[in-house]
């Protein structure tokens, strides 16, 4: 996906700035017991800027979403280090959307 398409898709969330890399954002919202993969995935999103996250649109296909992120491996899993589990695109999308809600985007 080209960056122009990305920009056209931007604006799904309200304009609001907030601090990123917040340790509270690393825990699941529902209070369930996380493993290191759950925590590291949320930490990964917490390092995204608001501007970057605003580019996301939920109608993107899996391929579009993976291209937007740019950090997936050729085997289809996210390059997330020191984790027992692989993150596939479905879990990625669910947690990203939860993260967007938490950041009010």
């Amino acid at each position: 996906m080209g960056s122009a398409t990305m920009r056209r898709k931007a604006g799904c969330g309200p304009m609001r700035e907030r601090a990123v890399n917040d340790i509270d954002l690393e825990r699941p919202l529902d209070g369930s017991s996380p493993d290191e993969t759950d925590i590291n995935l949320r930490a990964y999103f917490s390092r995204f800027t608001d501007e970057r996250l605003r580019e996301y649109c939920s109608d993107w296909s899996d391929e579009q979403l993976m291209a937007w992120d740019g950090n997936f491996r050729s085997d289809g899993a996210l390059m997330l280090v020191c984790c027992e589990r692989d993150i596939e695109i479905a879990e990625y999308r669910t947690v990203l959307e939860e993260h967007l809600r938490r950041r009010g985007l």
């Binding site: 690393e26 017991s33 996380p34 493993d35 290191e36 930490a43 997936f72 280090v81 984790c83 027992e84």
Partner: protein
């Protein structure tokens, strides 16, 4: 997009015995190849063209010889400066290298080797194996292990390998309370049951001792949610299984992971969590703890548990245990974005993040002799990305811990066959300038022999004299001879991840 490095190399027509950029072992995120690394890669190609033509060899075959390896190090010296002991004559005459570095000069014990369960990681030359007596299924699982045997034992001078654990936890029982066995226990890409199984297969095949294995079990793997503390009965049951049934030779801990969903990592000096584990392990007779330290670019919740600061109290409180600090606690490699952060590497002192803390622990405790810095991935990574830091890594490890405490590991297959890392250590030396300025000693052949294998032999209880007699005639050595006679060659293929567009 991330792809295995060998795929990227195929696409770009690159064939190099030494990786010219950092690959990810899934423990850190490397940067794209630098302009210097690109220059080095191009120079290797140009020199290889010229030299292979002179010798009348196809370039691909040339790159798999010791002359190809020497060419890669010579090219590195031309780009980065004279860091490696290599003569131009070695690039055209294999005997020149054999004379300088006789085969079998070192007894090599690699304490950090991996393969993956159920994932085909680039098995490309199965033909030679099929007729050579391996009793392995033709599936992805067998492929990855077969490739491991080929690249570790046939394509390198490694004498003995420790199959090293990765984050993962086995499930003891199913929902009906039935104890699970074998694959049903799951446990990630390299579970304890599989390491044990492969160790046994390999030693049976060899007719001797060629492999040791680690066990992944750690204090936070089985968690009692009602008490919010380790589920000690389940934990001890798994520990007993790993020691008694699997026959593991060391634990492998990742304090910054949490497969038991305890909600946190753990510290090695936590008296409530780690100390009961130590006591149980002593009772079981297993006293070696291999612990991942460094490489922790992940969450703020867990990343700090990879800091080596918790080794000090644990080691002092348990002088009868042995602690091996993997990666020598290198926090970030120079190919990671965080490397540029202020204070990470200070060239005026040679200190770098988290490794310096490990050195200070020994400085504060000169009599503490049960901690061993291991150099897997840190030595290989720095040798190709920052040769000066590489000299500080080894210089400081030897200065503070002693050449009799530095442990050889490579983290291969991530980096392909370990032969290039072995060659790098053979050709490694600390410059006069750094020795003068920082009080490092030149590395002697005796030091290298200790680092390559004699230190690990002490930890794992290997009788070196006996092994030196047995290994050359065991079945694995015979297979290696047959493999080489049939033209078997190293693949020059790193399995670790790099950016596809780099």
């Amino acid at each position: 997009m991330w792809v295995p490095k060998w795929q990227r190399d195929q696409r770009h027509g690159v064939d190099s015995p030494v990786p010219t950029q950092a690959v990810s072992n899934e423990e850190f995120i490397p940067r794209p190849q630098s302009s210097q690394q690109r220059q080095w890669e191009q120079l290797i190609g140009e020199l290889a063209d010229e030299k292979s033509k002179k010798l009348g060899l196809p370039r691909r075959d040339f790159m798999r010889t010791s002359m190809g390896m020497a060419t890669a190090f010579l090219a590195s010296n031309m780009v980065y400066g004279p860091n490696w002991d290599v003569d131009a004559a070695e690039t055209l005459d294999a005997d020149a290298t054999t004379e300088k570095f006789p085969k079998g000069e070192y007894f090599i014990v690699d304490v950090q080797t991996h393969f993956t369960d159920g994932v085909a990681i680039g098995f490309r030359k199965a033909e030679f194996v099929r007729n050579m007596g391996f009793d392995l299924k033709e599936d992805a699982e067998a492929y990855s292990f077969t490739n491991y045997v080929k690249e570790i034992f046939f394509d390198s001078e490694t004498s003995i390998a420790v199959i090293s654990g990765v984050p993962g936890r086995e499930t003891n029982k199913n929902l009906l309370g039935k104890t699970l066995e074998g694959r049903d226990r799951r446990g990630g890409i390299l579970p304890s049951w599989l390491m044990s199984q492969r160790k046994k297969e390999l030693n049976e095949l060899a007719g001797g001792t060629r492999a040791f294995c680690q066990g992944n079990c750690a204090p936070n793997h089985y968690w009692n949610r009602s008490t919010n503390a380790p589920d000690f009965p389940a934990l001890f049951e798994q520990m007993e299984r790993e020691v008694k049934t699997y026959g593991i030779d060391s634990w492998k801990w990742y304090c910054h992971t949490d497969p038991g969903r305890s909600g946190d990592g753990f510290r090695m000096d936590d008296e409530k969590m780690a100390y009961p584990f130590y006591e149980k392990s002593k009772e079981l007779g297993l006293k070696v703890f291999s612990v991942h330290k460094g490489f922790a670019s992940q969450s703020r919740t867990l990343g700090h548990f990879a800091h080596p600061g918790d080794i000090e109290k644990a080691a002092k409180d348990h002088p009868d245990l042995t602690f091996v600090a993997y990666h020598s606690a290198l926090k970030h490699g120079p190919d990671e974005p965080q490397f540029k952060a202020d204070g990470f590497y200070d060239p005026t002192t040679g200190d770098f993040a988290w490794h310096a803390e490990l050195m200070k622990i020994k400085e504060r405790n000169p009599d503490m002799n049960n901690v061993y810095p291991e150099i897997g991935s840190s030595f290989g990574l720095l040798s190709i990305a920052h040769p000066e830091m590489c000299q500080h890594l080894i210089g400081k490890n030897v200065k503070h811990f002693g050449a009799d405490h530095v442990i050889w590991g490579t983290d291969c297959l991530w980096w392909g066959s370990p032969q290039w890392v072995i060659d790098a250590m053979k050709r490694f030396q600390i410059s006069d300038e750094l020795c003068d300025k920082f009080g490092y000693a030149k590395l002697t052949k005796e030091d290298k022999a200790n680092i390559f294998g004699l230190n690990a032999a002490k930890i794992y209880g290997i009788d070196v004299k006996q092994e030196l007699k047995a290994l050359p005639t065991d079945a694995l050595s015979n297979l290696k001879t047959a493999y080489l006679e049939r033209g078997g060659q190293r693949d020059n293929a790193a399995q670790g991840w790099v950016r596809a567009d780099a």
